[in-house]
Symmetry: C2
Subunit: 464 residues, 2 copies
């Protein structure tokens, strides 16, 4: 009998082996800090801003191979926002031009510069130098406080943070962006601080319930209604876990339980996915017996954190339109591609009968009731008006008997799409059916859609 | 230009003409009262009970051609229920045998005798002679009080009552039985008394709303939650309108408005219905594009007031089963035939895809969640378990992909059928589809189903 090598390793050995692969190496460390030093010197030399290294590099919690460097440029808070943006961008541009291979302007709450400098992905971000995390004028002003808070405390727990970040990344729950709705790096650091280590955190998380409340500094200054609350140690009114969705909170919980039951490096390294071909896709859809429809349109020219929430709102709007038009939806998901966005709907029916009930006013609302009855007696209808409880009901011709026709109709523009999605769809959208929904660029999306599973199910499948 | 003769009549002329056709004639009156007198004398002659003429004949509010005669036999309230039933039935049987052509025992809350005597349909009902309507021991004990109450007051309004009864009959809202859920004769009399006439009642009813409250004696002794409340003048805890459904209340409201707008004898006499043939039925269903399914079984051997509520409960139970199994229902109705009962469902789909979502326990309920996940990873499933919010969801094979198969399955016996319906269905039931649902005996039912309309719509259609 042979045992898998994985089964022979203890949990401690698993973690040591993982750390060996993810701890930054000395040369890497020197290189990245040297670059940071040069840029900060350049910012300071300008005489108008103070350079500060922030992010995981500053906190010593970055993972081997990470190429992200965040340099903040702290300005006098007496400047107006316009002055800050203008001067900050001018300085950032001059630094990016001097050091960078390429650079471009990006936009979050405020504009900043993203440059590629000797193979590193460097963000140059202007912000205000405020007195405390509670006095910030823009979200980025808080970052220097986060950096200081963690830097002063994290030293004995750096390995634990590295393990947690790698664990969360491989589990698909790392990142507070709108697409992921998971755990930010700063949140990982706070959790490790709070529970005093990777393993104690996992043991606690295995028992998490909605309503989790962690307040390290014991200074919460409002009530939070998110299911997971971690009060920001530098801002008593902020929940660091606000972006964690309930689904991702429990995806993490499930992974923690799975790892504690059977520790393995599979929880830290995720094999490259294999995606369904169009043939497999078509065969799986045929098995399910459902009807797939994709609504696609040009991707609005904004970052995912702007577009993705709009896609989700649009998805729910179209889903509600489908359901109130009689088409029951099994599942709906959105995807944001480089060129096209997709709203995908899996329906239980592609066609609905001609007849549909239309509920009118209460009979006791005499004027409305009589208007309704007179109108429908004159128009084409199947039967009625009849009285059901205290209301008139009439059975009339359904406007859209085919889901495809409904999705191609102007009704779609009236369902509360987000602003940029609506702008894109006002130009054009396409409705694709069944197999024709598929395209290579969306293969990973369709694979995840048809193979939808919890992170633990994926770990188990990959382990086979 | 020629005007329809109807349009030339005033409302008063319409009513006079109607009264001419519905007022009992002198000969008829003499005949019915003579029979009543003979039977009452026989009851009194027994020395153990007092005979009393009740019902509309006693109150002088019966309509020409009515052949119903109600004779109550009042017994000493010291008798036990068993003694009352035994002695009452014995006396009733002997009278029925002496006067009647045929007779049979019937059963409401208590047994009574229904006899055919010289062409009249005579009920001989034993009851207690109690001191007031509030002290009754069985519902029938109240009837003598109703009779006295109305007899003492109704004389000036007899024509109005006759008009109202005829109006309600033709409108399909007369009768407090479970099938009709409409206006009892006694309720009609009280409404005419309260509003002081047929026309004032109609004018008031045109403005009725749910929450109508009428308490002629101003003695209500409880709060009622039905939408229409008429407190019984002889029992302050009883709502005479309790059996009126919201739909029938507003059917009456609609008819009142229609009559006030355009008085006509069409509101008092309803032409014999014409029923759809199987061909018309099939063509109309095809137009609607829906899927009809009938569940039929042997009619339980009980009166409609017992069976019909069970049919309604069964109908709602099966409707809920269909909907939670993925089959959306447009309309469902029940019918009680002499031999077979029918639950009829009009569906928007006959078939559903193989896949169905199955929502599991919350992930934070660790033991249940792990049991669920382990179980479904081993069983055949399409995808999952995945995490949605805080719950596991798995997509599995739908048990019944065809509505017909679901309706033929034992699941039907588990949906809270009424007792007697369940007993009948435990022996057998049939599932019919589409055109094969039709049979001549149910032709009126199918016609009403496909031509479903408010009473006013019917009046207008008949007037064409």
């Amino acid at each position: 009998m042979t045992l898998c090598w994985r089964c022979l390793l203890t949990q401690r050995e698993v973690e040591e082996a993982v750390l060996g692969r993810i701890r930054p190496q000395a040369a890497e460390q020197e290189e990245i800090l040297a670059i940071a030093r040069e840029i900060i010197d350049a910012v300071n030399a300008s005489g108008i801003a103070e350079g500060m290294l922030v992010g995981s590099v500053a906190r010593g919690t970055w993972v081997q191979g990470d190429r992200d460097l965040d340099i903040f440029m702290l300005y006098d808070p007496d400047l107006t926002k316009e002055e800050l943006e203008e001067r900050g961008l001018a300085l950032a541009r001059s630094i990016a031009t001097r050091f960078g291979d390429t650079w471009r302007e990006k936009y979050a709450e405020h504009p900043y510069i993203n440059a590629t400098i000797r193979g590193f992905d460097v963000d140059l971000v202007p912000c205000y130098r405020v007195a405390s995390g509670a006095e910030i004028r823009s979200a980025v002003d808080r970052t220097p406080f986060h950096t200081r808070y963690i830097r002063e405390r994290i030293a004995p727990l750096v390995d634990d943070v590295l393990l947690l970040k790698q664990f969360a990344k491989a589990g698909g729950v790392y990142g507070s962006d709108q697409m992921t709705e998971g755990f930010a790096g700063y949140l990982c650091e706070l959790l490790v601080l709070h529970y005093r280590g990777f393993l104690p955190l996992l043991r606690a998380a295995a028992r998490w319930k909605p309503g989790l409340f962690i307040d390290i500094e014991g200074h919460a200054a409002k009530t939070f209604d998110e299911p997971m609350v971690v009060v920001d140690p530098v801002d008593p009114k902020r929940n660091v876990a606000a972006s964690v969705s309930l689904s991702q909170m429990f995806a993490f919980v499930e992974l923690c339980r799975g790892y504690l039951d059977a520790p393995s490096d599979r929880f830290f390294f995720r094999p490259a996915g294999e995606f369904f071909t169009q043939e497999t896709f078509a065969a799986l859809v045929a098995d399910r017996g459902t009807y797939l429809y994709a609504v696609t349109f040009a991707t609005p020219p904004f970052i995912p954190d702007v577009v993705v929430p709009q896609l989700r709102r649009s998805l729910e709007g179209v889903r509600a339109l489908l359901e109130r038009s009689g088409f029951p939806v099994n599942r709906a998901e959105e995807a944001m591609g480089e060129e096209r966005c997709m709203l995908l709907f899996e329906l239980f029916a592609e066609q609905m009968p001609a007849v549909v009930r239309h509920v009118g006013p209460p009979v006791w609302s005499r004027e409305n009731a009589e208007k309704f009855a007179v109108m429908w007696r004159q128009r084409k209808h199947f039967c009625g008006p009849y009285i059901e409880n205290d209301r008139y009901v009439v059975e009339i011709e359904r406007k859209y008997t085919r889901a495809a026709a409904l999705l191609a109709s102007p009704e779609l523009l009236g369902v509360g799409l987000g602003k940029h999605v609506k702008q894109a769809m006002e130009k054009e959208w396409k409705v694709l059916e069944g197999e024709e929904c598929w395209s290579p660029v969306f293969a990973p999306f369709f694979t995840a859609f048809l193979q939808k599973e919890s992170p633990m199910a994926r770990v188990l499948r990959n382990g086979k």
